[in-house]
Symmetry: C2
Subunit: 326 residues, 2 copies
Amino acid sequence: MPDVSLDEIEARTIAALTRHGAAPEVAASVADAVREAEATGNRICGLYYVESYCRQLGTGRVQGQAVPVVTRPRPGLVAVDAAYGFAQPAFAAGFPAALEAARANGVAALTVAHSHTATAMGYFTGQIARAGMVGLGLTNASPTVAAPGGRKRVIGTNPIAFSVPDGQGGVAMQFDFSTSATALGSITMAAEAGEAIPEGWAVDAEGRPTTDPQAALKGALSSAGGYKGWGFGLMAELLAAAMTGSVLSQNVHPLREDSGPPHDFGQFYLLIDPATAPDFAGAFGQIAAAVAADEGARLPGQGRAPRDPVGVPQDLWDTVVALGSG
Amino acid sequence: MPDVSLDEIEARTIAALTRHGAAPEVAASVADAVREAEATGNRICGLYYVESYCRQLGTGRVQGQAVPVVTRPRPGLVAVDAAYGFAQPAFAAGFPAALEAARANGVAALTVAHSHTATAMGYFTGQIARAGMVGLGLTNASPTVAAPGGRKRVIGTNPIAFSVPDGQGGVAMQFDFSTSATALGSITMAAEAGEAIPEGWAVDAEGRPTTDPQAALKGALSSAGGYKGWGFGLMAELLAAAMTGSVLSQNVHPLREDSGPPHDFGQFYLLIDPATAPDFAGAFGQIAAAVAADEGARLPGQGRAPRDPVGVPQDLWDTVVALGSG
């Protein structure tokens, strides 16, 4: 597994995407997200996606030349239509107006409609926090999760991210996780390894809890913490998909297929200005100090320093390099 | 256990509160929340609280004559100072302006600072939904919950509620739950019954997971789903307490003691106007239909019709009646 610098990862991603039809500014925007995913060890949202991006650029399943359309239907709401392009340039197109709206109104929403997979929501809420705002982000996903007691795949892993500014251009605390008990990839890996999965992760096709990954793949994932994760997953579904008019998770076409309808996901971001609080930084500092004084405890996102260079599997790196060559 | 009508519950609660010094409009506002809690079987947030309300009105730990102060520091933010009074009249004081702000801005926040215990957050988000807005509500609580891997009580059960309007003045979906694995009351009841508690509910004083309720009472509750509930609990702490300048959970004085500093809790509500979506009701209907077609599945809050009359334990009812008599 070769060590590759983040600059090289970014450059090769840009080369691959532009060679397959993405506009230069689109490729740069997506590559920045790939870079951050690799820097933070979030393998599944990094280089792993680049091949499907390129194939789907080729078939038109994602529009590499899409120009996001930004509107502001109300003073506290910035709405971006990604026009079946990538999620990163759509967010970037609306972000300055959303920041201005949050400063002016105390709180503002930024919505993205009709986008390709957003991958890591923390990538976006982190930007909100680095701009000085508390950021909340939600998106929907492909159908994998059944209701507690049910068996049908009604929603996706529907992740939620939350980032807190440190007041100095950085992120003081951040979480970013699915509302399901696990990701589908965990089930697939267990199936390939022939290992049992923990109770609570999934149900079989009849809705019965199962520890057999093969049965789980024919069934559905369960929500994190049962009805609590189910509630949060539905909240993400309603805010991200229903509020933006994007496709519901239940109707999403398999993400990695080369052709088919566009992903058509929605994202919902909330920006909250901590400057309206009497002393947000002081209160955060008290909480952080209490956690720091408790051995073994930590705030979400603490202790995850970015790495550079990072180890990339040889096959994956060869694929990305080839996609951008010739 | 006598059956008591909701009207009688409300009237006796008003009598008890006014007799102990609450202003009539304050008593009516609090009694409405007690009525809804009893109607929906939420025992712990109903009549059970009335005795401590009366005792704390007597000592001044809660201010029964407090007049909430409503300000609007930004167009999208309505901030209410409860002035150490009850949470319900404070919410009521700011709610009309928050609704107007949400209609005008697409999204608005309503914050309540320095209030007595809010009890059920769904009581408030339900009002937001019945007024036609999607409602999210968060509050902090007394210190009971340790970080994953830790042992110190850093935050509270910090509940989160979310309500969705049905477009006809009702609530289509609602959840309201703690971000902890369980409530402290579940541990206390298990201790009294001499029963073990499930794994994952709590840790002992050394931070080790325990199934012994006595050890748990000397330790701390765990978050729901481990680090996910911990993240959501911190989000509630930051939005409800830090954003409003109310007391942090770690510094909250025991809630049911007659005297001591005021509870001083904060609440954070978000109001989102579904009228800005292309077809919110249609999308919600598709999700609801998918859940309805899946036997054994249900949406949060479904199938919980209010009851009237409700059974009230004789001792509790006698206490409430006596508090309002003579």
